[in-house]
């Protein structure tokens, strides 16, 4: 009964009030794919931090700018699944090398988002989009653990 992977797309504006909606959708996608509870939490957190950074840095807090999010589960031959998450903004283009987490020992508000994203996801890649803006690709892989016995 396994059907092929089909992506799902969300288009939001850069308004922080949309973040809970995206989190709810991402959480449900992860649940359906059979991710364990901790992994679901980390994927949700990673996506939220990435969107918050787009709102704050790519759009400087403007709330009416477009962000597109694609969620694409990839089923591998070995039975594992990778969830690929792509986010596209039309904001300030950024030098990917400038995006890095700060030293955690320096305790101050802020500067934690990139560190969290790296911790939560397996892969993270920023690249300039054709026509302006940035495409951020994040991926989370995990083995299929769906039990055969009814749960």
């Amino acid at each position: 009964m396994t059907s092929p992977a089909q992506p799902l797309r969300l288009s939001i504006s850069s308004n922080p009030s949309h973040l809970p909606v995206v989190r709810a959708a991402v959480e449900k996608v992860c649940e359906i794919l059979g991710f364990d509870c901790d992994t679901v939490g980390n994927v949700v957190l990673g996506v939220d931090e990435a969107l918050a950074n787009i709102i704050k840095h790519a759009y400087h807090g403007r709330q009416d700018q477009p962000i597109e999010i694609e969620l694409a589960p990839l089923h591998d031959a070995d039975g594992s699944i990778e969830l690929l998450i792509r986010m596209r903004d039309h904001g300030l283009e950024v030098d990917p090398s400038s995006i890095k987490g700060r030293d955690l020992d320096d305790i101050r508000p802020g500067g934690l988002g990139v560190h969290i994203m790296k911790h939560c996801m397996d892969r993270l890649e920023y690249r300039p989009a054709e026509g302006g803006g940035t495409i951020l690709t994040m991926a989370k892989r995990f083995p299929t653990v769906r039990k055969e016995i009814g749960r």
């Binding site: 009964m1 359906i32 749960r151």
Partner: protein
């Protein structure tokens, strides 16, 4: 998202010739066919009573209700008493909207359904 959905029936418990069926998760178009097939298979064993415990079903849509109606008509022919137990608020609301709350025998909890 296209992954094998988790099975709708998580457990069947038997007390003599009574079958208590535990259902788990939302029953919608992605799971109602499997839900119905499993219920019909349990009916094939001709229990005197089949209690469908819906406590762990937060949500159901018309496809789930259609499965239940199908199972009910088969149960009647097999002389099995079908009881729905422990409906969540949204499932209860759905049965009211479709006026099927007067067609099904519905119990507030499993004890009542077994009484």
């Amino acid at each position: 998202m296209s992954h094998n959905p988790a099975p709708a029936i998580s457990q069947v418990r038997r007390f003599g010739d009574v079958a208590v069926v535990d259902v788990q998760g939302d029953i919608d178009l992605s799971r109602s066919v499997e839900f119905q097939q499993t219920l019909l298979r349990i009916l094939d064993e001709k229990p005197s009573r089949m209690v469908i415990n819906l406590e762990a079903v937060p949500y159901m849509d018309s496809s789930g209700v259609a499965s239940l109606v199908k199972v009910l008509s088969r149960a009647r022919r097999a002389n099995t008493l079908l009881v729905l137990a422990s409906l969540s608020p949204r499932v209860k609301n759905l049965l009211e909207i479709t006026r099927l709350d007067s067609v099904f025998k519905i119990s507030a909890n499993e004890q009542d359904a077994l009484a």
